[in-house]
């Protein structure tokens, strides 16, 4: 991930966002956004996962520790899951992850969760724009999990 990248032309700070997209819906949604030429900021680094249920809380913590400025986890709407219960199980995990991360002081909006179906190309672009704006507003990640950022005592 390295340091956050400052886009030289527009001088605006461009956050680096790790996006865990579920293969069947959100990844397909992103694909549709691309095919449909719906513009969204090139700030997300997509990591395809078989299902939102596959997301281990450590992925999110490690992404923040390695220098991601934001994380987006996106899966199918409840009921659409290719594996029937993947996102239902994930939903409980995400609720607990989101609540605990805020509890330990991670800024609101750093870690985002959404349900985007394969048909919602436009909505996917909106979600990414929204997440990018919020993370950019928060600025580079020197937060609680950043290994050589805010936390280290060296």
């Amino acid at each position: 991930m390295g340091e956050s990248q400052v886009n030289t032309e527009t001088k605006a700070y461009e956050p680096k966002i790790a996006a865990f997209l579920c293969n069947w819906c959100s990844y397909a949604g992103a694909d549709l956004a691309g095919v449909g030429r719906f513009q969204y900021p090139a700030t997300i680094r997509t990591i395809r996962v078989p299902c939102s249920g596959r997301i281990n809380p450590l992925y999110i913590l490690k992404a923040m520790a390695n220098g991601a400025d934001g994380v987006l986890v996106s899966g199918c709407h409840p009921g659409d899951c290719h594996y029937m219960s993947g996102n239902y199980v994930a939903r409980r995990k995400f609720a607990l992850i989101d609540s605990l991360l805020k509890h330990v002081g991670l800024e609101e909006g750093r870690v985002n969760f959404s349900w985007v179906s394969a048909a919602e190309g436009v909505r996917f672009a909106e979600v990414v724009k929204g997440v990018t704006e919020r993370v950019a507003a928060l600025g580079p990640n020197t937060g609680v999990f950043k290994v050589d950022g805010g936390g280290t005592d060296e």
Binding site: M1, G2, N66, E154
Partner: protein, 338 residues
């Protein structure tokens, strides 16, 4: 000879200009050794630090090298940083522990520069113990609450002044900066005598332990000793003489650093081979290794028992494994004389 605490405090603050002065400081509810800006920060009435002062010479996490990879080339940089340090308020048990660590970090073939460059630039100002805790048993380990072994200067707290005793050359040079000393009054001399003759209430007998352990490797005593142990590193990380470490890499993209971190023989991964074979995979073998290393192997290699009786492992153990009971257990175990 004595110096008033008030004058000592001034020269202490003066020292911070030239030295990094490390002293017992109370932080987050515990007393530990940290760099102190002025004498006012120094905690006065403390038994001993929670974590051992070995972390100043042998930090828990230390960068050895850093490197940058570009393509096939590599540039490696030595990350050794050394500064002049004064360790103030070191208890006699920890001072002796430093001498034991010296025997580890330098052997007949190698000298560990990270430990020793710091060690050579450190002056140890020992502070004798006025109060003795029930878990201290340093008297049984060949030292005492006012022992000077390992200290360059030994202070004894007399209330509003310190009795100063020069032990080594380094101590003498440091003393020069402390200003002139005064004579002791009669009752102050009495305090010094009582502190010097004090013994710990808790006792263990380690006179025959090394010889006995020679014949005890396959003794059944090890079968039950380890049972309640959780296999964590609490005792090793709070022990002033434990010196085992791990070397690992921390990498982001093509920059990285080789890092040394504390490790412990109590963790199962300590001896895991790449092939999956692990000579010490059972908890029993790890407790046996702990006892054999501290009370037998270290004696054969370095002529000293690797325990100074500070009692930190006793207080730190979640299930109250007590090293004194383990020692008694070894003394009582019957050895089958072949």
């Amino acid at each position: 000879m004595k110096i008033s605490k008030e004058k000592f405090g001034q020269s202490f603050d003066a020292l911070t200009a030239e030295y990094q002065v490390v002293a017992p400081v109370s932080e987050a509810g515990a007393v530990n050794f940290k760099a102190a800006k002025s004498f006012s920060e120094v905690k006065q009435d403390y038994l001993n630090s929670k974590l051992p002062p070995k972390s100043l010479l042998f930090p828990q996490h230390e960068k050895l090298l850093s490197y940058v990879k570009d393509g096939k080339d590599i540039t490696v940089k030595n990350e050794l940083k050394v500064g002049k340090t004064v360790l103030f308020g070191i208890r006699p048990c920890d001072a002796k522990a430093m001498l034991l660590l010296d025997k580890v970090f330098k052997n007949d073939q190698y000298r560990d520069p990270y430990y020793f460059d710091r060690r050579d630039n450190t002056v140890i100002v020992g502070l004798a113990c006025n109060k003795i805790a029930p878990t201290c048993f340093c008297s049984s380990m060949g030292i005492s609450p006012a022992c000077s072994e390992g200290s360059d200067l030994l202070l004894i707290d007399l209330g509003d002044s310190y009795n100063v005793e020069v032990i080594t050359e380094k101590g003498k040079d440091l003393l020069a900066g402390l200003g002139e000393l005064a004579e002791l009054s009669a009752e102050e001399q009495a305090i010094v005598d009582t502190v010097k003759s004090a013994q710990t209430t808790s006792k263990v007998d380690v006179s025959t332990i090394t010889a006995k352990l020679d014949k005890m490797f396959d003794n059944s005593y090890w079968d039950t000793l380890h049972e309640k142990c959780l296999g964590c590193n609490a005792c090793s990380f709070s022990c002033p003489t434990c010196h085992c470490f791990d070397i690992s890499e921390e990498v982001t993209k093509n920059e990285g650093s080789r890092v040394r971190t504390w490790d412990a023989c109590m963790a199962p991964l300590f001896t895991l081979h790449g092939s999956g074979h692990n000579p010490r995979d059972k908890k029993k073998t790890r407790w046996r290794q702990r006892m054999m290393h501290k009370f037998n192997y270290f004696v054969h290699n370095n002529g000293d028992i690797a325990c100074v009786g500070c009692g930190r492992c006793i207080k730190g153990c979640p299930v109250n494994m007590d090293i004194r009971q383990a020692i008694d257990g070894v003394n009582k175990a019957e050895v089958v004389v072949d």
